[in-house]
C-alpha cells in the first residue's frame, strides 16, 4: 500500500471549504476588550512626553500604556531556535513599546478599551511630543561617518559584518587568460501579504498568560513572550489555531508579546490585539532589500576561476532575524557554484525603515536574482552558453560545503535543466530571439537554485510527535510542527498511515498546537518540517506500530516479529490473510480484564544533517518596448525536492511560490516617503499583489530523487519555488531586448528608464 507519492486530498480541506475551520479571529471570547497601538508619526527620534488627558476621557477606555510604563526589558523577536550560547543569541533590541523611535509607525503606546471604536478614538486623542532626528533610510546614509546611531549597542549602525574566503581569491585571479565580469544588483523591500493579518488575543487562566495567535512558531513565541515579560516559559501558553498564511512574517513574535503584557494590565481579561492590513504592512516584517557587487573571473572554457561578492542588507529599525539572511545569501552564492576561489563579505545595516525579517526562502530570492542575472551576464560577455556555464560550474553530488559541512546527498539538477530545455526549446529560441528588431519582441530566460533543508548545523533542531490509539483502531496524532497552509498536516498523516499500515481515514491529525499540550517543535520555517519533523513522525509511527504488534502478538499468542499491519489488519509478515483488525487490538488493549494498557507513543528527533534541494525556472515572454510591458507567455518550475510525498499539494506549493516570484520580479515593492520614512503603499490596492488576471498559467514538474537523509527520501519544497522566477524573467528580457536590468521589480517605470538608456525608445 503506497500512500507516499500519491495525490491524496488535504485532511483540512473539508473544514476549509465549509467555513468550519477556525482561525484566531473566530475564537475571540464574547466581551473581549480591544487594544490598539499608537504608532509614531516620526521615523527617528525620541518620545519626550505624552498628554493622555483627552484620551482618558473617551468612554470605554480601560487602560492606557505608554513606552514609559512597560518593563525595562529588551528582547529578541526572531523565530529562531534559542541558543544557550550568548554569542549566538538573537539580538535583543526592542521593548514592548519604545521611547527611542526607530521607524515611522514604531509602537509607542497602547490603549485598551471596551470596543474597537473607543480604542481607536482614544489612540487618536493621545498627544505626543517628540525630539525628532532626520530619518536614515538608505544603508549608505546609515554607514556614513557621524550618522546618528539608531541602536546604542551598534554605534555605526552596522548590525553585523561577516566574511569568508575559500581558496585564495588574490592568487586565483592572477591566472592568465581570465575574463572579468562585474555586476551590481539590487532587490526591493517586499511584503508577505498573507491574507489573514497579524492578530492575537490574550487572557489569563490558572495563573498563566494564554495567547491565541496566528503564528507559525507557537513554541518559539512562548519563549519570546517569557523573555519580553520577564516571566517563566511555563507561565506562558500559546495556542495556534488554523492560520491564514505566514510566509515567514509569522516566524517572528509580532503582536504576541505586547498582547501578553496587556492582559496582565487588566486582571487577565481577554484583550484582542489585531493589526489592520495597513499595520500588518508597516509594523510587522518585510523582506530585506539587498545590494550585491559581484566579480567573476572566467576561463575560456567557461569554468569559474574566482568569484567574489559584497552584500549589503537593509535591516530597517530592529534586528529581527538580522544577519542570518544576508549570511544565507552569500553562502548560497558559494554553494550554487562551488568551484574556484570564492570570497564573500556581508553587512547588515540598521536604518529607519520598517523592520525586515524572514520571508519565503530567507535571503535566497535576493541572491538568486543577483547570481542568476550575473551568470547570464557572463554568458553575454563571453559568448558562452548559459546552460553549459551553469551545468559546468554548479554543485554536484557529494559536494561538502567547506564552511557549513552541508553535503549534497542527492541531486537531480542536471535533469531539471535538461527537462526545462526540452519543454521550452530554450537554446533554439534563445538564438532565434537574440536577432529580433522592432517594438514587440520575445525572449526566453532561465535560472537555477539550490536550497538547504532546515537549519543544521547552525542549530540542532528538535521535533516531537505523539500518537494515541483510540478504541476503534484509529489514532490521534499531535505534532509540534505547524500547518500554515502548506499542507503539513496532510503529509504527516500520510507518513503515519504508510509507516504504521493504516488507511488515511484512521489518522486524526490534531491541527491546533497548544504549548501546554502539544509536543515540542520549533515550527514552520526553513522548509524543514517534512524533513526534520517528518523524521519525528516516522520514529513515533514505528514505535506506535511496535506497541500495536506486541499487543496483537499477546492476543494471537504469536511472536510480534512475525506480524505486520496492512490496511488496518494484523497479518503474518508477507501474507495477506487477516488475523485480527487493528480495531480488535485497540478495544482489547483498552478493556482487557488481564492486560489492559493504553497504547500510545511519543518520540522526538533532533536533526543532525541537512541536504540541498534544487530546481529551475524557464520562461518565455513578450516585451512591448514602447509600452514598457512584459507578458509571460509560458513559465515552468521543475524541482528536485527528493521524493514527493503528495504530488497535488507539492504542485500547489510550486504554483504559490512561482506566483510570489512573479510578483517579486515584475510588480511588488514597498515605497517609502524619502522625507518622513512613512510607508506609502501599505495596502492591497497600492501594493501590487497579483490577481488571477495578472497571473499566467503556472506549470510545475518534479525530478524525483531519493535523498538518503530524508525520512521518506524527501527534501525542502515549501520555500524554494519562489527563488528562480525573478531572475528567469530578467534573463528573458535580456534575451528579448539585449538590455540587462539589474534591479527588480521590472515594472514599467524601470523598463522605461532602461530602454531609454539603451536607446530603444
Amino acid at each position: 500500500m503506497d500512500i507516499i507519492g500519491t495525490s491524496l486530498k488535504r485532511v483540512d480541506a473539508f473544514d476549509k471549504v465549509t467555513g468550519k475551520a477556525k482561525y484566531t479571529p473566530d475564537l475571540i471570547p464574547p466581551h473581549a476588550l480591544v487594544a490598539k497601538v499608537l504608532h509614531s508619526t516620526i521615523a527617528n527620534g525620541w518620545v519626550k512626553e505624552f498628554d493622555l488627558s483627552e484620551a482618558w476621557k473617551v468612554e470605554g477606555v480601560v487602560d492606557i500604556v505608554t513606552c514609559f510604563d512597560v518593563p525595562d526589558i529588551q528582547f529578541p523577536t526572531a523565530g529562531h531556535p534559542w541558543s544557550t550560547d550568548p554569542k549566538h543569541q538573537d539580538i535583543a533590541d526592542r521593548k514592548l513599546l519604545n521611547a527611542r523611535v526607530r521607524c515611522y509607525a514604531d509602537d509607542i503606546a497602547a490603549v485598551i478599551a471596551e470596543d474597537e471604536l473607543a480604542a481607536e478614538e482614544a489612540v487618536r486623542k493621545i498627544k505626543v511630543t517628540y525630539e525628532e532626528f532626520t530619518p536614515i533610510l538608505t544603508m549608505e546614509d546609515a554607514m556614513k561617518e557621524g550618522a546618528i546611531t539608531i541602536h546604542e549597542e551598534k554605534p555605526n549602525n552596522v548590525v553585523v559584518k561577516s566574511a569568508y574566503e575559500v581558496g585564495s581569491f588574490e592568487e586565483a585571479i592572477k591566472e592568465a587568460g581570465l575574463t572579468k565580469v562585474v555586476g551590481d544588483y539590487e532587490t526591493p523591500i517586499v511584503s508577505h501579504c498573507h491574507i489573514e493579518s497579524a492578530n492575537s488575543f490574550a487572557y489569563m487562566e490558572s495563573g498563566k498568560i494564554v495567547v491565541v495567535s496566528s503564528t507559525q512558531i507557537p513554541h518559539i513565541v512562548r519563549r519570546v513572550c517569557s523573555q519580553a515579560l520577564g516571566v517563566g516559559f511555563g507561565d506562558i501558553r500559546i495556542i495556534k489555531p488554523y492560520i491564514g498564511g505566514g510566509f515567514g512574517n509569522k516566524q517572528d513574535a509580532l503582536t504576541e508579546p505586547l498582547n501578553a503584557y496587556l492582559t496582565t494590565r487588566v486582571g487577565g481579561r481577554p484583550v484582542v490585539l489585531a493589526y489592520t492590513r495597513e499595520e500588518t504592512f508597516a509594523c510587522t516584517r518585510t523582506r530585506h532589500a539587498m545590494k550585491f557587487h559581484i566579480e567573476s573571473y572566467v576561463r575560456k572554457d567557461g569554468s569559474f576561476a574566482a568569484r567574489s561578492i559584497k552584500a549589503y542588507s537593509n535591516q530597517g529599525a530592529y534586528a529581527s532575524h538580522a544577519h542570518a539572511l544576508v549570511a544565507n545569501a552569500v553562502n548560497g552564492f558559494r554553494m550554487m557554484y562551488p568551484v574556484g576561489a570564492i570570497k564573500g563579505e556581508a553587512y547588515t545595516v540598521y536604518t529607519n525603515l520598517a523592520t525586515a525579517g524572514a520571508m519565503r526562502a530567507y535571503g535566497i530570492p535576493q541572491i538568486g536574482f543577483a547570481l542568476e542575472a550575473h551568470v547570464d551576464d557572463i554568458a553575454k560577455q563571453t559568448g558562452l552558453d548559459p546552460l553549459k556555464l551553469r551545468t559546468q560550474n554548479m554543485m554536484k553530488l557529494g559536494y561538502v560545503d567547506p564552511m557549513t559541512t552541508i553535503t549534497c546527498h542527492s541531486t537531480g539538477l542536471e535533469e531539471c535543466i535538461q527537462r526545462g530545455e526540452q519543454y521550452l526549446s530554450y537554446t533554439k529560441k534563445r538564438e532565434e530571439y537574440a536577432k529580433q528588431t522592432g517594438p514587440i519582441r520575445k525572449g526566453v530566460g532561465m535560472a537555477i537554485f539550490c536550497y538547504k533543508t532546515g537549519v543544521y548545523p547552525i542549530s540542532l533542531e528538535t521535533s516531537a510527535c505523539r500518537m494515541v490509539l483510540n478504541q476503534d483502531g484509529s489514532l490521534q496524532m499531535q505534532i509540534g510542527a505547524t500547518e500554515i497552509g502548506q499542507g503539513a498536516d496532510t503529509v504527516f498523516a500520510m507518513m503515519a498511515a504508510q509507516t504504521i499500515g493504516l488507511t488515511m481515514d484512521k489518522i486524526h491529525v490534531v491541527s491546533k498546537q497548544d504549548t501546554d499540550v502539544t509536543p515540542y517543535d520549533t515550527g514552520a520555517y526553513a522548509s524543514r518540517q517534512t524533513y526534520v519533523s517528518g523524521m519525528a513522525v516516522k520514529k513515533t509511527a514505528e514505535s506506535f506500530r511496535k506497541k500495536l504488534l506486541e499487543f496483537a502478538g499477546f492476543m494471537l499468542k504469536k511472536d510480534p516479529w512475525d506480524l505486520d499491519i496492512k490496511e488496518n489488519y494484523i497479518v503474518h509478515t508477507n501474507k495477506d490473510e487477516h488475523l485480527l483488525s487493528v480495531a480488535d487490538v485497540a478495544i482489547e488493549s483498552c478493556y482487557s480484564l488481564t492486560n489492559s494498557t493504553h497504547i500510545a507513543a511519543e518520540e522526538s528527533h533532533h536533526c543532525t544533517d541537512n541536504t540541498y534541494s534544487f530546481g529551475v525556472c524557464y520562461t518565455e515572454l513578450e516585451v512591448d518596448i514602447p509600452m514598457c510591458q512584459i507578458k509571460i507567455l509560458d513559465i515552468i518550475n521543475i524541482h528536485d525536492s527528493g521524493k514527493i510525498i503528495n504530488r497535488q499539494t507539492a504542485s500547489g506549493q510550486v504554483h504559490g511560490g512561482m506566483s510570489m516570484g512573479l510578483g517579486y520580479g515584475m510588480y511588488e515593492h514597498l515605497k517609502f516617503d524619502p522625507k518622513t520614512g512613512r510607508m506609502l503603499n501599505d495596502n492591497l490596492l497600492d501594493y501590487k499583489l497579483m490577481t488571477a488576471i495578472d497571473t499566467p498559467e503556472l506549470h510545475a514538474d518534479f525530478v524525483e530523487t531519493d535523498d538518503p537523509t530524508g525520512p521518506y527520501g524527501n527534501k525542502s519544497l515549501g520555500e524554494p519555488p519562489t527563488i528562480p522566477v525573478a531572475p528567469a524573467i530578467r534573463n528573458a528580457v535580456l534575451n528579448a531586448t539585449g538590455v540587462a536590468i539589474n534591479a527588480i521589480p521590472l515594472h514599467p517605470e524601470r523598463l522605461f528608464n532602461a530602454f531609454t538608456e539603451a536607446q530603444l525608445i
Binding site: F14, V17, G652, G656
Partner: protein, 163 residues
C-alpha cells in the same frame, strides 16, 4: 450610537437583526449570525475574503453597510452545503483540485465563483480569471482555483444539456 432593525433572508431563513447604523454587513453576519466563514483580510474591500452573495451577486460584505441589507437575500458559504452538511459541487471541486491551502481566502473565492459556475455558457480561463480578480490569494497562484471553477462550470453546463 443609533440602532436599527434589519430584516433580511440569510441562507434561506428570514431573520431580524438589531444593528449599529455604522456596522458593516460582515460584522453583522459574523457577530450576530455566527457566520464565521466570512473573513476579514483588509476591511476596505481590497482582498475579497468577506465575499457573500446579495440577491445573487457577489459583494465585499466588509464595505456593504448592514442597514443596506434590508429586504435582501444573502447567501454565505455556510448556505452552500445542504441541511445535512453535504457539500455543493463547487466546494467539492475546491477539495478535488487542490484549490485550498491556508483556506483564509477560500470562502470568498467560492462565493465569487457562484455566478461563473451558474453561467449558461462556458467561460474561457481568461474570463474566469477576470471575474475572480476581486479576490486575492497568496498561497495558490490561482492555478487550481481556476481549475476548480472551470471544471464545475463545464460539469453544470453538460448536466443541463443532458437533461
Amino acid at each position: 450610537m443609533a440602532k436599527k432593525d434589519i430584516t433580511c433572508t440569510v441562507n434561506g431563513k428570514v431573520r431580524t437583526y438589531s444593528v449599529d447604523v455604522r456596522e458593516s454587513l460582515s460584522d453583522m453576519l459574523r457577530g450576530q449570525a455566527g457566520l464565521d466563514s466570512i473573513k476579514h483580510g483588509c476591511d476596505v474591500g481590497e482582498c475579497g475574503a468577506c465575499t457573500v452573495l446579495i440577491d445573487g451577486k457577489p459583494f465585499n460584505s466588509c464595505i456593504y453597510m448592514a442597514i443596506w441589507a434590508e429586504g435582501k437575500e444573502i447567501i454565505t458559504l455556510e448556505g452552500l452545503s445542504d441541511t445535512k452538511g453535504a457539500l455543493s459541487d463547487i466546494q467539492q471541486a475546491f477539495i478535488d483540485e487542490g484549490a485550498v491551502q491556508c483556506g483564509f481566502c477560500t470562502p470568498g473565492f467560492i462565493m465569487a465563483s457562484i455566478p461563473i459556475i451558474s453561467s449558461e455558457t462556458e467561460s474561457s480561463r481568461e474570463e474566469i480569471r477576470r471575474q475572480i480578480s476581486g479576490n486575492l490569494c497568496r498561497c495558490t497562484g490561482y492555478e487550481n482555483i481556476v481549475n476548480a471553477i472551470e471544471k464545475t462550470q463545464k460539469k453544470r453546463i453538460a448536466e443541463k444539456k443532458s437533461k
